[in-house]
């Protein structure tokens, strides 16, 4: 009987050790955030599995790398498959901050405080065909986007002050503001993620980070 206890205790400690190691691996992954290939984006033909190093001698990869999402989703790939495809409707260009072990609220964002919906430069919304956001007609053009998150809803602002760092917003240049509900307990996103999903009336701009998801409806 005593041997059995010893055995169980030993297994428990072994399990603890394994858990500890995994924590370390996770930390490492957080500190070296740029990793792995993806199924959807390619680089050049036949690129082997690669890891981008930090402390790159010439140009570090930004800790919050830039990305862009089109509507229709993956429009550039669709275009090379179908040259006669209709023009794209819109796209967002944004930088993708990541949690790195922090909780989104209140360690990164504060309720009621303006957030650039990204990192670095102000997040950009390009409208290629006229759309309607919150009952306001949005003509073709370039805009910036920012949010004022609150516990139950986020206020999303479309603004026409462009090409600027995302820390300073001029509400006087807002084109429209829309309140959208936010849900929690969704699958946790390590990196802030924006993608468009098709809806019956147009598209939703999905904004997901940590376990929070907000959707901005766009009528097309």
């Amino acid at each position: 009987m005593c041997t059995l206890y010893k055995c169980v205790v030993a297994i428990c400690f072994a399990s603890l050790f394994v858990t500890g190691c995994k924590e370390k691996e996770k930390e490492k992954a957080v500190n070296e955030p740029v990793m792995h290939d993806t199924a959807t984006r390619d680089t050049a033909a036949h690129e082997p599995h690669t890891i981008i190093e930090d402390n790159n001698l010439y140009a570090d990869v930004d800790i919050s790398p830039m990305d862009m999402s089109y509507f229709p989703a993956k429009y550039p790939q669709m275009k090379i498959a179908d040259p006669d495809i209709a023009p794209p409707v819109m796209r967002v260009i944004y930088s993708r901050p990541h949690l790195q072990g922090r909780k989104l609220f209140e360690e990164i964002l504060k309720y009621g405080q303006t957030w650039r919906l990204g990192a670095n430069e102000a997040t950009e919304l390009n409208i290629f065909q006229p759309v309607t956001i919150g009952d306001k007609k949005i003509p073709v053009g370039r805009y910036t986007l920012y949010a004022i998150p609150k516990a139950g809803y986020w206020t999303i602002a479309i603004n026409n002050s462009l090409d600027q760092w995302g820390l300073k917003q001029d509400a006087a240049r807002d084109v429209v503001r829309v309140q959208v509900p936010v849900t929690y307990y969704n699958p946790v996103m390590e990196y802030f993620t924006m993608v468009f999903e098709k809806t019956d009336t147009g598209a939703n701009l999905i904004m997901a980070w940590d376990d929070a998801v907000a959707k901005l409806p766009v009528k097309i």
Partner: protein, 186 residues
């Protein structure tokens, strides 16, 4: 007591399983943008009066110890997207002159036809496309050939710099051990 240990054992087991979480990966050739004037977004919130001229939006592949030019990554004599993923995009916010040709403000794509001694930069009208897979020369706006310059040190990530020149901007593209320059006048 035995039950407690067993409970603990399974508790630890489940924690280690939960730790095996998969996070959304970041692109291995991250997107980047470069403005002229350089760092324009930062300058703008500090109140710069300089006019915004242009921007390049491109993905930055890495060398990763691979041979780049003349290899299967950037073969000689084939049009290359001068980046990764989507075709590299050139935004002109004012009219410009490239290779002696007037190019009105607008969105364009930028490609390069690379050989050992020279690169031909190509400005094209077809935007929002993926790579150079469906590159269409009939949509070219202009082509400019530039000599290849050998670099002392290798550049790990493809880098496009916009440098001030006498009449405008020199677009300098460098990767691995070479660079080439496309002059743009305003």
């Amino acid at each position: 007591m035995k039950r407690v240990f067993l409970f603990l054992f399974f508790a630890f087991l489940s924690t280690s399983v939960l730790n095996a979480q998969h996070w959304a990966p970041v692109d291995k050739s991250p997107l980047d943008q470069i403005y002229f004037p350089a760092d324009y977004p930062s300058l703008k919130i500090k109140g710069t009066k300089e006019p915004l001229r242009m921007r390049i939006i491109y993905s930055r592949p890495n060398k990763n110890n691979r041979p780049i030019f003349g290899s299967e990554i950037v073969p000689y004599g084939k049009v290359w997207r001068l980046g990764a993923n989507e075709a590299t995009e050139l935004n002109l916010f004012t009219d410009a002159k490239i290779g002696g040709k007037k190019v009105p403000a607008g969105r364009y794509t930028l490609y390069a036809l690379v050989s050992e001694k020279s690169w031909t930069f190509i400005v094209n009208k077809e935007t929002d496309t993926w790579g150079a897979f469906k590159y269409d020369p009939s949509k070219d706006v202009c082509r400019v050939t530039a000599d290849v310059k050998a670099l002392d040190k290798s550049i790990e990530s493809l880098t496009i710099d916009l440098e001030k020149s006498a009449g405008g901007v020199n677009l300098v593209a460098g990767w691995d051990t070479v660079s080439a320059t496309l002059p743009i006048l305003f």
